[in-house]
Symmetry: C2
DNA sequence: CTGAAAGCGCTAACAG
DNA sequence: CTGTTAGCGCTTTCAG
């Protein structure tokens, strides 16, 4: 076996070739004779040699590290996304350096600087607000960035989201078709494009049928606040149906309704969420929701980012992926409803 | 502002000092006159300079990167741990490079090699089986490793776990005190020390009261298998109480009991889990469980690892942290029970 | 305290 | 195809 770090130089000596010959054997585009390859591989195996990624990064300028900024790992949507993101990247020879950001912002600037210090090849920002200055900073540093599950007005930023506006509309159509007219909305954090788009689509579709939001409360994407929002909303003139900006909060809403306010869901009130996190499918919630196609969102995110990294092709792209309404049992199902 | 990467050389020129002077200003242990520091900082700020972590890593031999191997992000215990781990490390100047491992093993070897390629300063392995050869490989490479939430017989491996054996005992005592005698156990993956220790403690405490396991089924720490295990266990001569090896499965067990088999929990059957994940506290489950003190486990893991990295002090340590039984409503509460 | 010089381990021309 | 020669950006002796 080996001791500590083995260098290409040591392998070269053992194989009786030059150090650069060793390098070539391990460099994708380079060419070496079968004979050299064999000698080198043999020596390397005996020594337990593996190329030093950092040294390679220094000279090549490519670290094969992707910085990932995340915030809310408590919302089940993110661990799932993180796992897929990491796997997809791993498969394509990249690895993920993780950075936790409190959405308290403020420190987000320093987080980006820290990431840049590692000479990452690209950055994925999951559900964190990105200022234009920051994205500008990354562009200046030559590091492509793509937003995951969040989009920004800035047309210079690449972003991948599900079609939140269309999703909001689907929920409205569904609730309306079920005959609901007194409809409430529990909002997420206003700084998030997902919150704004979902609500906009929802309200727009309602309006087309001359229905206005019966009530609205703020949940900020936080369970505890969703609980308070529910209490407030049902304190007087309760709605017949509630659309909650994401599943994470919808779970808290359902629990509060059932165990604190003694409502039956869906008998007394219909509840619909957004995301289709694993818990939405658990029998206790059986939540009707709009699915965000995590796998396709991830695939697109990775494709865009690697394309920008590997082909210099720097035109930002913004992709929106349609997600289906998953009809389960937390809301009345309109008669004759299908799909 | 700036364009692309600024080097210490450029800062040096602008500040009118040598490149090494700039380096010293950014090197913790080094000394420079206030005058130099000021000039350098000023020039650096104007240029937007930040030291290249990779270059620093090359020469210093310290990358300040910690490799983290994880597998089951679906079990809520892990995202939480990951978040805390990353935050704790970030705070101490390290960053986390993430590697997903399928517990299908097999590829775990290659994952470790990949990690080593990045010249990480240390490795944290969360709930993944580690062979002695692998740990030996890391030791040979001079990279300390600590197991998180898993322990191995190998006394050379540092490991941090909660006291799973004691936890199992607590559950047994609780169930016994409630008067249960027909008690079932739904096991996790047998390869995990957590599974084995929890069961061993549980069975031992039962035996002390002359009670044997009434039934046992395998859930493998997977929800779908836990559902099947529940069906099988309750198909004939159902137990009065079930201890499930972790909360993730316990959730599936409760749902299956309630919505498929029409049992009332806890009226017809008591269910107790292990971990105290966020969902255990959700009203729908209100799960009685043994808490794994994630924060303390993380703190200890980080302390041990950094100690080994920074002080060469290589004696492996194995820490076990006691976790309390959190009594909620999914199991009968013995009369006069307190704490 | 400060500058000059020597690399860390590797890739990328460049002649042969 | 192969060896030689330059560095990548930074830390670290080593004289001064």
């Amino acid at each position: 076996m080996s001791t500590l770090k083995i260098t290409s130089q040591q392998v070269a000596e053992r194989a009786g070739v030059s150090q650069s010959a060793v390098s070539r054997v391990y460099t994708p585009g380079a060419s070496s004779s079968k004979k050299t390859v064999d000698k080198v591989r043999k020596a390397a195996a005996e020594l337990g040699y593996r190329p030093n990624v950092l040294a390679r990064a220094m000279v090549s300028g490519k670290s094969r590290i992707i910085g990932l900024i995340v915030a809310y790992l408590e919302n089940q949507f993110y661990p799932e996304a993180l796992e897929r993101l990491s796997n997809a990247l791993q498969q394509r020879g990249y690895h993920v350096l993780i950075f936790m950001a409190k959405q308290t912002t403020g420190n987000i600037d320093s987080v980006v600087e820290e990431i840049l210090d590692y000479q990452v090849d690209g950055i994925i920002v999951a559900s964190v607000a990105m200022s234009s200055e920051l994205s500008e900073r990354c562009r200046a540093a030559g590091v492509p960035m793509v937003l995951f599950n969040r989009s920004q007005d800035d047309p210079n930023m690449s972003a991948v989201t599900s079609d939140n506006y269309a999703g909001g509309r689907k929920v409205a159509d569904f609730l309306l078709a079920a005959g609901h007219r007194k409809i409430g909305y529990i909002a997420g954090w206003e700084g998030a494009s997902t919150q704004r788009d979902r609500e906009a689509g929802f309200v727009a579709a309602l309006k087309e049928e001359d229905v206005n939001l019966h009530s609205r409360a703020k949940g900020e994407f936080v369970m505890a606040k969703a609980v308070e929002a529910t209490r407030k909303m049902f304190a007087e003139d309760p709605p017949e149906a509630v659309f909650v900006a994401n599943d994470h909060m919808a779970i808290a809403v359902i629990d509060t309704l059932r165990f604190e306010l003694n409502y039956k869901v869906p008998d007394d009130v219909s509840v619909v969420g957004f995301d289709d996190v694993p818990a939405a499918g658990w029998p206790a919630y059986n939540l009707t929701t709009v699915r965000q196609p995590a796998n396709r969102m991830v695939t697109n995110t990775v494709d865009i980012l690697l394309d920008q990294i590997e082909n210099q092709q720097s035109e930002p792209r913004r992709i929106t992926i349609d997600g289906p309404l998953i009809v389960r049992g937390s809301a009345h199902i309109p008669e004759g409803w299908n799909t």
